[in-house]
Amino acid sequence: MKRHTSVPSDAAQLSTLTQFLQEFWSAADLPAAETVSFELALEEIFMNVVMHGSPAGPVPRVEVSLALCDGCLTLIIEDDGPAFDPLSLAAPDVAASLEERRVGGLGVYLVRQMMDAVSYQRLGGRNKLSMTKRVREPTP
């Protein structure tokens, strides 16, 4: 099962993307407990694209696709904005004290921890981030 959508790189589009994910979840009848990893990945990576998109010039376009294969779900987020590899962000110090805790880089850290595999490519002037996680046992 595969689905694809496309939105401008604008924070106001987050709810559209969340709805796209939730509709896929219902249509594929996936376990509710696994939703959070993908909702989080979608929000964190999309908001990164919005924050790092072109300050001047055209608003980048963001392509989002979901593909379910043998119980593994892959979320791909692509955009035509400036080159930016979110996986290059330094991991936050999750053992820091309350006073020392910083939130920078936390979103991407959560995505890396909650997905089985995450990879970044810069291809043909586009950023492409792929995230995969097993969401149910493969059908025998």
Binding site: A11, A33, E44, M47, L98, E99, L106
Partner: protein, 118 residues
């Protein structure tokens, strides 16, 4: 997202309901800051009861971190309680469970608040 407030003795309970994502974080932060500002003149503690919170992202975690820190600086007790599994998972992975007091239910959070303000 909807936010309700309740007062129990000297403690203010903040009850966020729904999804605390990037879109909801700024308004929620403003509401929590108002509670903390008001708390200086009376209430001795603030509890965030998450029984109705379905989802939190790093934008929401940031609000909890800032609120917890502001409470600590103001000498107020601060605790969070009743996290649903999806919220709990994000708390645990981020390490926030180690720096913010998180209790199973509101009764335990109230006990924590009373001890903290004693």
């Amino acid at each position: 997202m909807n936010v309700r407030l309740e007062s129990i003795g000297l403690t203010t309970v903040v009850i966020p309901e729904g999804r605390l994502d990037f879109g909801a974080a700024a308004d929620f932060r403003a509401q929590v800051e108002r509670v903390l500002a008001g708390a200086g003149t009376g209430p001795a503690g603030v509890i965030i009861d998450c029984a109705g919170l379905d989802y939190v992202s790093s934008a929401g975690l940031r609000v909890f971190l800032l609120a917890s820190r502001a409470a600590q600086r103001a000498g107020l007790a601060f605790a969070m309680c009743a996290l649903k599994p999806a919220v709990r998972e994000v708390f645990d992975v981020s390490g926030f469970s180690r720096v913010i007091a998180v209790t199973a239910d509101r009764a335990a959070a109230l006990t924590h608040a009373r001890q903290g303000s004693a």
